[in-house]
C-alpha cells in the first residue's frame, strides 16, 4: 500500500516548529517509515510546482506552522488546503497567531516606517522600502504583499486540527501523528491537547492563591523567584490560569512563568481577557487610587495577556493605528 503523503510548511514563524520535528529524536524514524514527505522546504528539496502537480486532496495531511502575514503565505496555505485531505495548524503561530501576532498593535505603514527608516540600527539614506513590483533590466521583480494584520491559519483557510505550543512538545506530536495514521481522530476542530488549565497539573498548585493576595506586581527580573511557590503568589504574572495544559511545563520547570503558548481551553474565547479577569480578582487592594496605581505598574497589559493570542483574540488587532 502506498504510504500517506505528508507536507510540512512554514509561514510567519521562527523555525522552532521545524526544529520540533528534529526533536522527535529516534521517533522521527517511525514517522519517516510510515509516511512519504512530498513537501518540506526547510529540510528537503521540493518546489512549489511539485505541490501544484499533485491532485486535489492527494496529500493526506499538511502540517502548517506560522501565522499568515503576507500574500505568499496566504497563497501557499490555500494551495496546501486544496491539495490536502487534512490540515493541521501546527504550533502557536498557526493556532492562535503567536509572537508575530503582536504586530497587530501596528500596521503595514507603521512597521515599514520603523523597520526601514526609524530603527536606530538602520542606515537607509535613499529612503528605500520594499515594493511589490520593481522593474530592472532583466524584467520585473515582485515581492509578496505585506498585510496590515497577522492572521491565524483558520482565519485564512479551513483547519481540521490544532497542535498547540511554541513549539509543540514531542509527546503531543507523536500522539497526533499516530491518531492520523490510524484514522482514530477526534471531532474536527479539536485542539490535540488536554482540555484543562495549566494550573490544574502545575506542581506549584498548592501555593496558588484562592483569594486576593497580591499587593504588588513584579516582573521576573525584579525578584528572586522561589522555585516551589506559585508565580502569582509571588506577584509575578503567569498565564497558567488562562492557558491550556499539555506543554509538559517546560517553562515552569525552568522557573519561568507561563506566557500562554498553548492558547486557552475550549471554554474560553479570549485568553487575554480571561487572564485579566483572573489577575484582577487576586489583587488585594480595594482603594480606587491604589487600584489604579497597581494596574498602571503593569507595563504592557494587552501585550503580555495576549502574548501569543493577539490575532485569535476577539478584537484581533488594534482598531485604527
Amino acid at each position: 500500500m502506498a504510504k500517506p503523503k505528508v507536507a510540512f510548511y512554514w509561514c510567519a514563524s521562527c523555525g522552532g516548529c521545524e526544529e520540533s520535528i528534529v526533536d522527535l529524536a529516534e521517533d522521527i524514524l517511525k514517522v519517516v517509515e510510515a509516511v512519504e514527505f512530498v513537501f518540506w522546504p526547510v529540510a528537503m528539496d521540493f518546489k512549489v510546482k511539485d505541490v501544484e502537480a499533485l491532485l486535489d486532496g492527494e496529500i493526506a495531511v499538511s502540517f502548517i506552522n506560522g501565522s499568515i502575514r503576507t500574500g505568499e503565505q496566504e497563497h501557499m496555505a490555500k494551495l496546501l488546503r486544496r491539495k490536502s485531505g487534512l490540515v493541521v495548524a501546527y504550533g502557536a503561530c498557526a493556532h492562535i497567531g503567536g509572537i508575530p501576532g503582536l504586530a497587530n498593535f501596528f500596521n503595514h505603514d507603521s512597521i515599514f516606517d520603523y523597520v526601514y527608516h526609524k530603527s536606530p540600527s538602520v542606515s537607509n539614506p535613499g529612503g528605500v522600502t520594499p515594493q511589490l513590483k520593481t522593474s530592472v533590466e532583466q524584467g520585473e521583480l515582485t515581492l509578496p504583499e505585506f498585510y496590515d494584520t497577522v492572521y491565524t491559519l483558520d482565519q485564512v483557510i479551513d483547519v481540521d486540527y490544532y497542535l498547540p505550543g511554541c513549539a509543540p512538545p514531542p509527546d503531543l506530536i507523536m500522539k497526533a501523528v499516530e491518531a492520523i495514521l490510524s484514522g482514530n481522530l477526534p471531532p474536527k476542530g479539536t485542539v490535540l491537547a488536554p482540555d484543562k488549565s495549566l494550573c490544574d497539573t502545575c506542581k506549584r498548585k498548592t501555593t496558588k492563591p484562592d483569594k486576593a493576595v497580591i499587593k504588588e506586581i513584579r516582573r521576573v527580573h525584579e525578584v528572586l523567584l522561589d522555585p516551589e511557590r506559585c508565580f502569582l503568589d509571588q506577584g509575578v504574572i503567569c498565564l497558567g490560569p488562562a492557558t491550556r495544559d499539555g506543554c509538559g511545563e517546560r517553562c515552569i520547570n525552568a522557573n519561568m512563568p507561563c506566557r500562554g503558548c498553548f492558547g486557552p481551553t475550549s471554554r474560553v474565547e479570549d485568553q487575554g481577557a480571561k487572564f485579566l479577569s483572573a489577575l484582577a480578582s487576586i489583587i488585594d487592594i480595594d482603594d480606587e487610587p491604589e487600584i489604579e496605581k497597581i494596574m498602571n505598574s503593569i507595563a504592557d497589559p494587552a501585550g503580555i495577556f495576549n502574548f501569543y493570542s493577539m490575532p485569535a483574540s476577539m478584537l484581533r488587532r488594534k482598531i485604527s493605528v
Binding site: 497563497h75 485564512v156 483557510i157 480578582s281 485604527s320
Partner: protein, 115 residues
Amino acid sequence: MCTGRIDPQFVMKAFESGADGVLILGCHPGDCHYKEGNYKALRRFHLLKRMLKQFGIEEERFRLDWVSASEAEKFVEVINDMVKKVKALGPIKKNPPVPFSEEKASGDIKVEAHG
C-alpha cells in the same frame, strides 16, 4: 447581574459586535450583597480600561459607575453623559477590508487591514 460577575470577555464581545461604548452600572462599594463583587469589578475595570486603550479604544467608550436602585436622578445623569461622550466620539473606526491577493470566498475572511 452583579458587577462582580462581569467577565472582561463580555466587554470585549460587545466591542467586537460593534458597540461604540460599554457602560457598567453597579451597586456602591460597601453595598454589595456578596461583599466583594463590586471591588472585583473595580479592579477589572481599571485593568481592562488600560488594555482597551492599547487596542485603540478611547477611554470614554468604557465606563464603570455606581448607581443604586433608588438613584433615579444619578442614573439619568450618567446615561446622558455617557451618550453625549460616545456621540461626540462617533462610531469606532474599524480598518478597511483586507486586500487579499486571491479569491476571498474560500478563506471566508471578513477582516480589516491595509490603511
